[in-house]
């Protein structure tokens, strides 16, 4: 009775279970090697470094569940940051007015991706590869090699914590959005549409699912999330540069796939992505503490991604 229930749970959620066990293992090993890992203040403090990747992981999960990919998000972060910083420092537009505009700019750039993917039926991989170059390039046109400052009193907002806790602002935003995205994917019609589109877009279309509309909304959402990340990053770094967030797409996609989302679409959970993201964060922080250079860390992340895919092939291949 109980064993059959466990088996059913395993069959349905094998990747999520595997990644949870890996996270516990990673935590125990790091805590044992480096006692700082057991200090909540230290952990929450480090977590602000990775918030943007954590946020991108949420929207990328939806994109991949729908059977697509968005490589341009990291370039959208840089481009939106460049737009905001330019409007502020060259045209004197008040910064507080620009903050709510960031998701709007990002959403527009994402909608452009969505248009090409949904209305012109072009593969999202190539479309977003092109806009990845295009958006990054436009950020470079705006800023060149220089850095534009954001207002000094805006820098460091991410250091503000909720009263009487260790929770920094970005962490609060991230936790809230985790819940929002989980509800969106697992509890709404939009989430159903996304999943069904990922399982079989043609069948979805013939069943009355507005596939094109769903995809455009989805890519717009993805861009808007990148816009949110952009303002958080500006607060953390205090300057806008064209090369911000470059290469993060590897971390983000690794987290999503490691969390059990099928790269072919149709299956995935926000829980899995969140746990996988935490796992990657611990592995990277661990390597950082051990003095492994950032350039070499990408090797470990790449290996982790391969391991994740091969594991999920093994566990789901038995059917």
């Amino acid at each position: 009775m109980i064993s059959s229930r466990i088996r059913r749970l395993w069959n349905a959620y094998a990747p999520e279970i595997v990644v949870t066990i890996l996270l516990i293992l990673a935590f125990v090993i790091s805590g044992w090697r480096e006692p700082r890992f057991l200090d909540a203040a230290y952990l929450f403090d480090r977590s602000t470094l990775y918030t943007e990747i954590g946020l991108l992981t949420l929207s990328m999960t939806l994109i991949i569940v729908a059977g697509h990919i968005d490589l341009s998000v990291t370039s959208i972060i840089a481009f939106v940051g460049a737009i905001i910083a330019t409007l502020y420092s060259r045209y004197g537009i008040p910064f507080w007015l620009l903050i709510p505009l960031a998701p709007v700019f990002g959403g527009f750039l994402g909608a452009v991706n969505g248009y090409f993917v949904a209305r012109r039926n072009l593969p999202s991989l190539v479309v977003t590869l092109a806009t990845m170059a295009l958006y990054r390039g436009m950020a470079q046109i705006l800023l060149g090699d220089s850095s534009l400052m954001t207002p000094p009193d805006y820098t460091g907002i991410e250091r503000v914590t909720l009263p009487h806790t260790y929770l920094h602002t970005p962490l609060v935003i991230w936790i809230t959005l985790c819940l929002v995205f989980a509800a969106l994917l697992h509890r709404t019609v939009f989430g159903r549409y996304i999943t069904v589109t990922g399982v079989n877009p043609e069948a979805a279309l013939y069943s009355g699912v507005p596939v094109a509309q769903t995809l455009i909304r989805l890519f717009t959402l993805s861009g808007a999330m990148a816009g949110v990340c952009s303002v958080l990053l500006l607060s953390r770094l205090g300057v806008a540069r064209y090369d911000h967030a470059r290469g993060w797409e590897l971390d983000v996609i690794t987290a999503v796939v490691l969390g059990g989302t099928s790269i072919f679409g149709g299956r995935g959970t926000i829980y899995g992505s969140v746990v996988a993201f935490l796992l990657i964060t611990i592995v990277q922080t661990g390597m950082g503490v051990a003095g492994v250079k950032a350039e070499i860390q990408v090797t470990a992340i790449g290996l982790l991604l391969l391991l994740a895919v091969l594991l999920s092939r093994l566990t789901t291949g038995r059917k």
Partner: protein, 326 residues
Amino acid sequence: MINKLFQRREAPLLIILAALVTIVCLLQPRFLSPGNLQSVLLWLPLLIIVALGEMAVILTRGIDVSVGSILGLSGMMTAMALRDYPELNIYVAALLATGIGAFLGAINGGLIAGAGTPPIVATLATLGIYRGLTFVVSSGKQVDDYQLPRNLARWSIDGPFGLSIPPYVVWIALIVAAAMHLFLTYSRTGRDWYAIGGEPDGASDRGVPVRLQTFCAYVLSGAGAGLAGLLYASRFGTVNPASIGNGFELLAIAAVVIGGTSIFGGSGTIAGVLLGCLLLGVINVALAVLNIAETWQSAVYGAVILMALLTDDAARRRLMKGARHK
């Protein structure tokens, strides 16, 4: 006959290229000087060789985003070999670079054709892995031009028959392109790649060894990127682990897609890929000649790829319409 020429997939590309050259010449007559011609020619070989391998992969409906990192790792290792063993023949070095590339490509192929990993995930992972390994093998130190053999640099300076335009590297690229054309047209493997990209299940039913031939496409892509690693060393003299081959995958995919190879696999020509490379090369040099800051490069490339995608889309729709009318 002219009609037939215009029906070809490459025709619009040729027109765009001619228009671009004319406009740039009108704005800046200096554009056609031997010096600028030489810089277009020197820019091409690396891209052509990488793009040809990428094309083989795209023909099979795959994608290889690790070519830039393969170029980097193979170029770095070969440059270190040439530095540490000065008596090493550069033709042996060329074989070594190609071999390293082919081996790295075989890892991609094994993951994709053998273990069934989706191409984008497998090559995105190896993009990171190979890039990191480039730092590990070199300890982050660059190889300088005085540490590399003289005659390697000569490949990019001198040409055959005592002419300096075009240099040897261009001939190497053209010979590789010609060989690739023959291979795609007449070899079993080449035909199979088209069949796999056209309809993977159908190809399998027809007895095409889909997994084996897909594997071969990635090995070829790796081998091309590997050879390009040595050409990079010849062209630039210094080999720095932080910059060698960075972002090259984007250029290669752009050249292939601009050249009219369908991103859905199954169709594409070598002539198209060569024209795609030429267009990117002309844009690159034109930006410099017209005094447009280098910062515009990335945005222009992105816009050109999008335009190429839309053209490809329009061509595909026209083709479908034509097929329906018959």
